[in-house]
């Protein structure tokens, strides 16, 4: 590789003329822009409800569909960032706001909000009346709800962990709130933000089918895209369609990973707060390409100046002075009023929800749904255990070999984006042919959405084990089971817990996809809360959707408090390495 770089080290000798790299970059950027503008135009074309949008299994249409899907994903991502920057900042700066926002986000990120979305669709359609933008906005909103929560949480947590001295320095040098946001808050949270954005992009592919077909007034609007293509392929039992989808996804994920996330990750290395310099920095080819071109470099300088101007926008002529306020008793009583009103509001809405459910449904059904929740919880925990048993040895092996880790990471990331739906044909055919039990054999589909979080974290945990601990154990001849029990398992425990908590959050979400499996005209349904919610959503049965979601939230909250939070605290206090 080094010779490849060296060939271009003479680049400083010609500075004025654009070079070949410029041409490539120029064509490339223009092409991308044109494609997105075209897709944007299509997506805002006139549209009336009832009109069906053309969708076919012809693979030649797939590039177009992919373009639509990607545009939706990125628009949703832009809104996710906007939401994160406003709501996350509000939560971090205002304790009272945080006391509502954070628990809400906590619940929203582990229940399949997509089930509740049909309510919002009418609103979007009314907002963009007579335009395809209405359903498009609804689809983007659905993707947004699958992406946003963990990004906002990560931003909030980063803001809360900014070292006091940095905050004091910002105060001391009179940075305005705006300057402080761009100079301190955003850069400090950048690594976590980026990592969570990548996770969210993977996560939003999983719900692609659900977000690209929208039901309103008892009819379904299907928006052209990769997800709806896959949905069509599944309902027509077209194996080739599924394969084409996988191929398209592979190319699209590869493209945005290489063009966007690799360079961003590279760039974000300067934001890591550790004050040690890294001896080895891997570079992505797109960074290298950008460094070769003059026009882009010039553009870069232009954007640098622009960014500088944005950071230093002043909203008022004089420099605002921060005034320290003393805690007064008024302040205190305001707090009391605030918390009382929140408690009141929460109790009232809980009561309303219960009332709504009880009017329509019998208490017998509630007990039944509780039982369904129990079954689903059992399924998720089993899957987590299986995934751990399988992936811990593999993850440790990969983590110990840095070179393997480097190329496994992107592959695992691609696999994490895999919607469970693409495996439906395999599962349905196997179950039918061998007369398998659907209750048990639909469960492995859950692995698709959950195992990767465990694998990622185990690789990271093993790689983070201090070299001297490994050396000490081999020096004392620690081997075999003792090596696992004394060194590896305790060493990776905190990472395993983190991975498991994420996986379980994703697992609850996934159950609405994996407990009802269809292929062509065959539909197999397992017993469980996910199937209950999925069916009620399809039928537009709101009381049942509400009950299902409430039950899922309850399970998530109770399990978090009784099992995962204590384990997490144990991991942080006893097994932390520093």
């Amino acid at each position: 590789m080094s010779t490849f770089y060296n060939r271009f080290s003479f680049r400083n000798s010609f500075k004025i003329l654009p070079n070949g790299w410029d041409l490539i970059a120029f064509i490339f950027v223009l092409g991308m822009l044109a494609a997105f503008v075209w897709a944007g135009k299509q997506m805002s074309a006139p549209y009336q409800i009832g009109q069906t949008l053309a969708l076919s299994l012809d693979p030649h249409q797939l590039p177009k569909y992919a373009l639509f899907t990607v545009l939706r994903l990125f628009t949703a991502m832009a809104f996710s960032l906007l939401f994160t920057f406003t709501v996350g900042t509000l939560a971090a700066k205002n304790k009272r706001a945080a006391s509502i926002i954070i628990p809400c986000i906590d619940i929203l990120q582990s229940v399949p909000v997509i089930g509740l979305l049909s309510i919002t669709i009418v609103g979007f359609i009314a907002l963009f009346h007579g335009s395809r933008l209405g359903p498009e906005a609804a689809a983007i909103f659905a993707v947004f709800t699958a992406q946003v929560w963990n990004i906002t949480l990560s931003f909030y947590q980063s803001l809360r962990s900014i070292p006091t001295e940095l905050k004091e320095a910002a105060d001391m040098f009179h940075l305005s709130a705006w300057q402080r946001f761009w100079r301190l808050d955003v850069p400090f949270s950048m690594p976590g933000l980026l990592w969570n954005m990548m996770m969210s992009m993977s996560g939003s592919w999983i719900f692609l089918i659900a977000s690209e077909s929208i039901s309103v007034n008892n009819q379904t609007i299907v928006l052209p895209g990769v997800g709806s293509y896959l949905g069509l392929a599944i309902s027509q039992a077209s194996i080739s369609g599924v394969i084409y989808t996988i191929l398209t996804m592979f190319i699209v994920i590869l493209l945005y990973d290489q063009l966007l996330f690799r360079p961003l990750l590279n760039w974000s290395k300067k934001f890591t707060f550790e004050q040690v310099s890294q001896e080895y920095v891997s570079r992505s080819w797109i960074n290298i390409l950008l460094e070769q071109t003059y026009i882009l470099k010039y553009l870069g300088r232009f954007f640098g100046k622009l960014g500088d101007a944005i950071v230093n926008i002043s909203f008022s002529k004089d420099i605002k002075k921060k005034v320290l306020t003393k805690k007064t008793s008024l302040n205190k009583s305001m707090g009391m009023i605030w918390y009382t009103s929140i408690t009141l509001m929460v109790s009232i809405s809980l009561w309303l929800l219960l009332h709504f459910i009880l009017i329509h449904l019998s208490s017998h059904e509630i007990v039944h749904v509780f039982f369904l929740g129990f079954i689903t919880a059992l399924r998720i925990i089993t899957i987590i255990l299986i995934a751990s048993i399988v992936w811990i040895p593999i993850g440790v092996f990969i983590g110990l070999n840095r070179r393997i880790a480097e190329w496994v990471q992107p592959i695992a990331q691609f696999l994490a984006a895999f919607p469970a739906n693409v495996l439906f044909p395999v599962v349905v055919i196997l179950i039918l042919r061998y007369h398998l039990n659907i209750e048990i054999w639909s469960t492995p589909l859950l692995l698709l959405g959950t195992q990767w979080y465990i694998l990622f974290n185990i690789i990271a945990g093993t790689a983070a084990l201090p070299e001297d601990l490994k050396e000490a154990s081999s020096n004392f001849g620690v081997k075999g089971w003792q090596w696992w029990r004394r060194l590896i398992l305790p060493g990776i425990f905190p990472h395993w817990i983190t991975g498991t908590i994420t996986a379980i959050g994703g697992g609850w979400n996934m159950t609405i996809l994996t407990e009802v499996i269809s292929w062509g005209s065959t539909t197999l349904t397992a017993t469980g809360l996910g199937a209950y919610i999925a069916k009620s959503t399809d039928a537009g049965d709101f009381p049942r959707v509400a009950l299902g979601m409430a039950m899922m939230s309850l399970f998530v909250l109770v399990m978090n408090h009784l099992v995962w939070r204590p384990l997490y605290n144990l991991a942080q206090s006893r097994y932390r390495l520093d």
Binding site: M172, F173, N312
Partner: protein, 437 residues
């Protein structure tokens, strides 16, 4: 001489809330002024509230009562004209040296081009030429603190506040940076009219300051003021310099002696209370110090300045050790001298197991908290002689702040474990009499 004050600190008190009704007083009615053209050092043990005072003066935090007046205006938030240099530099790692230095100018709405010129000049003055485009993580500690200085000086502050600016640096780097700072100050290259800095290093205070304010702790208050009338550059070998250092040492030890007298008059919590604020001292450090005292060259007594010098210890590190030796009856402090007792001599000459026995006996006799814990455990014969850490923590919190209670309990558990008076399991938080397994 008619000196003009830059800022005036008047009756500043600060207390933190600990439990529901109790308040912990960290600063008690502090009064002083910083005049133009002087460097003042605030000298005191860590935890004496001097950093808190610095933050109140800078407007970063609020006093509970009292006022700070800066150039005829009352400080109630960060004011322009003051710049701060931080202990751990507080540089933004994602900005280059140049961008870091420009930060304060950006906030002052200085146009881009002027910003660059001024920042480059400050970088030049502080000796960072050639590092403009480097990121802080590429620099050594000393160079990073230079960036901290450049960032503070570029906004041309009226006053420079420094929070232990050299304590995170190694000795050579710190000396180098100090003399550069003094050169700048002497040459009047900046518009800075006064410097206030916080330190726990006596030599550092005498080296840099025109005036040293000695801080007393529990609660933080001004104990004494000393004008250092020596021309720059000062050297530590100069007898005059040594005289000032010795003077400050005896000021501080006198402070300890008086404290002891107060103890006898029962005006402060007595050592015999379980709520006595045991200082932090590590067993191996205590043992090491006793062994040093017993060495032939010292013959059982040594002056404190000599000791700090030969052991390369800060006052901050040394005083807790001498206090503990005093409490345990292994050594006494008298007129700035540390004197080994007979028990101390016995301990120094014993082997590992005997040492544990001696230590255990003294611990039970002189440290009521240790005795108390042992007694409680012995009384619990029926419940397996165990008690939770929380139990003692709650008891201590009647006397001490939550943080202090934790620290004191941690210290006494550490000593008790060494003396094999009781055992402690960290994951269950249980104290017990049984040995592990």
């Amino acid at each position: 001489m008619n000196k003009k004050p830059i800022f005036t600190v008047k009756d500043i008190s600060k207390s933190f809330k600990k439990a529901e009704q109790q308040e912990l007083l960290v600063l008690d009615k502090v009064n002083f002024q910083l005049y133009e053209d002087e460097i003042v050092a605030l000298l005191g043990k860590s935890g004496s509230g001097k950093s808190t005072l610095l933050r109140i003066i800078s407007g970063l935090s609020n006093p509970s009562s009292g006022t700070v007046t800066y150039r005829e205006q009352i400080v109630n938030g960060p004011v322009q004209g003051m710049a701060m240099v931080f202990q751990n530099f507080a540089l933004l790692p994602w900005l280059t040296v140049l961008e870091n230095v420009e930060l304060g100018l950006e906030a002052l709405r200085v146009p881009r081009d002027e910003r660059r010129t001024r920042a480059l000049k400050a970088i030049d003055i502080i000796g960072l030429d050639g590092f403009e485009s480097a990121y802080p993580k590429e620099l050594s500690g000393g160079m990073r603190q230079r960036v901290g200085f450049a960032r503070a000086l570029v906004i041309n502050p009226d006053v420079l506040l420094m929070d232990e600016p050299f304590s995170a640096l190694d000795v050579l780097t710190a000396d180098n940076l100090k003399s550069d700072l003094l050169d700048l100050w002497e040459a009047k290259q900046t518009g800075t009219r006064g410097i206030l800095f916080v330190t726990h290093n006596i030599e550092e205070a005498v080296l840099l300051a025109n005036r040293v304010i000695v801080f007393d702790s529990d609660p933080g208050s001004i104990r004494a003021e000393l004008t250092i009338d020596l021309p720059y550059p000062r050297t530590e070998q100069n007898p005059e310099f040594r005289k000032y250092v010795d003077q400050i040492y005896s000021l501080i030890t006198r402070q300890m002696d008086e404290r002891k007298k107060l103890l006898l008059k029962e005006q402060l919590p007595r050592i015999t209370d379980i709520g006595y604020r045991l200082p932090d001292a590590d067993i191996s450090e205590l043992t090491g110090l006793l062994e040093t005292l017993d060495q032939v060259e010292y013959q059982g007594h040594v002056s404190l300045p000599e000791l700090t010098e030969s052991l390369h210890l800060d006052v901050d590190d040394l005083f807790p050790l001498t206090e503990v030796l005093d409490i345990l009856g292994f050594a006494h402090v008298n007129n700035g001298e540390l004197i080994l007792t007979a028990a101390g001599k016995l301990f120094a000459n014993a082997d590992i197991l005997e040492r544990k026995k001696i230590f255990a006996a003294h611990l039970l006799r002189y440290v009521p908290l240790a005795k108390h814990i042992r007694q409680v455990l012995e009384e619990r014969r029926t419940t397996g002689q165990r008690a939770s850490r929380e139990r003692f923590l709650n008891e201590l919190e009647d006397y001490l702040s939550e943080k202090e209670a934790e620290r004191v309990l941690r210290t006494v558990i550490d000593w008790g474990r060494y003396a094999e008076l009781f055992a402690y399991a960290n994951n269950t938080g249980m104290l017990s009499l049984e040995n592990p397994n």
